[in-house]
């Protein structure tokens, strides 16, 4: 599904954000991406969503190399990848419904089919009763879930999340992760970037750990209870 092959990314000025990263995420697999701030998590996600291009190496989705994607094709690639943002990135002056419907409108859905899908997505994240609200009237956790509904409303095969639990309390974090698990169980590949190591360890999923742009761990994370 998702493959990184010796991928490096350096920025002008010589800062190396990613250093020869290689890994593979299979179809229907769920994994965590961890590391301290500045370890390269965001950069890695940006390479997948084509916000940035790698300096060296290849990024492949479904065996198609992203460097071959032309600028005009980028929107179509992004429709296949659902992205959940740390700061939600909702349209604050539009209702929850409009926000979740946005990817569908972009793809040309109209009428009943659109309403059906939006309601299904909001139902999955438990926000069906807030459909007519403005995002500003929702709590942080609810806003995050609206973002999740928007990311999954057009049923993308690959789901990326960048610090989805960054601003949430532990209970809400756990709920959010449960939502991701639910999507994973219906066959969606999920990659979640987070620095919440405790949560990651409890979830028992494959974990990729970055440090200073290098991959230092790929596998289950051993969690030590704080003494």
């Amino acid at each position: 599904m998702l493959q990184f092959d010796q991928v490096s990314k350096s920025y002008p000025g010589g800062f190396v954000a990613l250093d020869r990263i290689s890994f593979r995420l299979e179809k229907g697999e769920m994994a965590f991406l961890t590391g301290h701030s500045g370890a390269g998590k965001s950069t890695l996600l940006k390479l997948i969503s084509l916000i940035e291009r790698p300096s060296a190496g290849r990024v492949l989705i479904n065996d198609i190399e992203l460097s071959r994607i032309k600028r005009s094709q980028i929107p179509y690639v992004r429709r296949d990848v659902g992205i959940i943002f740390q700061n939600h990135r909702l349209l604050m002056n539009h209702t929850v419904f409009d926000n979740v419907a946005l990817p569908l409108v972009i793809e040309g859905f109209t009428g009943k089919e659109m309403v059906k899908r939006v309601h299904a997505a909001l139902d999955k994240v438990g926000l069906l009763d807030k459909v007519r609200c403005l995002p500003a009237t929702l709590s942080g956790g609810e806003q995050q879930r609206v973002g999740i509904a928007r990311a999954v409303v057009n049923k993308p095969p690959l789901l990326l999340a960048d610090e989805p639990t960054g601003n949430l309390d532990p209970d809400l974090s756990k709920d959010t992760m449960r939502v991701f698990e639910a999507f994973n169980q219906v066959g969606v590949s999920v990659l979640v970037a987070t620095h919440d190591l405790g949560l990651v360890a409890r979830m028992k999923y494959r974990t990729l750990t970055l440090k200073h742009g290098r991959m230092i761990n790929d596998g289950l994370l051993q969690y030590q209870e704080p003494v």
């Binding site: 916000i51 989705i61 690639v77 296949d80 740390q86 990135r89 040309g108």
Partner: protein
Amino acid sequence: MSILFTGRATGAAAKKIGLLRRFIMFWLNHARQAVASLGELWRTPSASILTIAVLGVSLTLPATLHLLVKNMQQISSSFTQAAEISLYIREQTPANQVQSLVTILQADRDVAEVIFVSKQQAMTEFQQISGFGAALNYLESNPLPDLIRVLPKNTAPQAAEALLQRLSSERIVDFAKLDIDWLTRLNAIVSMLQQAVAIIALLLLSAVLLIVGNTIRLSIMNKKDEIEVMKLVGATDAFIQRPFLYTGVWFGIFGGLLAFLVVELMLWWLQGAISNVTALYQSDFTLMAMSFREFIGLLLIAVLLGLAGSYLSVRRHISAIEPTGP
């Protein structure tokens, strides 16, 4: 259309819908977006009204100038006798020869009308209007020549000039005169005005283009975050552009309508003053207002300018906005 996943049907293509239905949906979508853009203008009334007012004023001026030129042309075309040719007949020409020339001229294809003024008639007329009256009776003989006044069919200066050349070569014609100078001057002034109007119109219309372009640029900048989000969830530039293009079209429509209203108001205002002036000149001049075709033309120009202005703006600025990070 999915590039990465062959066979993953996405969007409206996922549903099998007929060509006709898709065609209808296409226009329905456009209509919906047009209305949405109108709503967007409605939500920021003060800014929209200001922009529309500026556009309206900018369009009013070329429209007014156009009407001015149109009415000038109407005036100048009403002076057909301006190209009247006077043929002065040689002294002592027998009356029958003069009569036969009149007959020939009446049959001439280039001549619209022939009026014969005999020397006696001329003297009587002169006595009546000159005010010399009885004094003229002291003249021993009538010094005035016979006169044939010829109205050319084609009153354009060049054509009248050509006819003048031809008629002055007639044997019994002493000399022919055509008061053409002031006509050429009037024509020159009208054509100068036309060109000046064209230049001013061009300047003002480019002002409209720039105003719309700049307004759209500002609204793109205001929605930078929104545009980034849309790009992140897979919107193409064309999709993001569309509402802004519609905004430009709306600006054009409202600006054009405002210009039309202002012009009509101005005409209504001026009507009284103009009829006073024309009454003094005993002319039956009536002020010509904008025709329906001109109104449609004005709207069309306004809409095209609005569209072009916003297109120039969105093309530059929307592709420049790229999301910087998740």
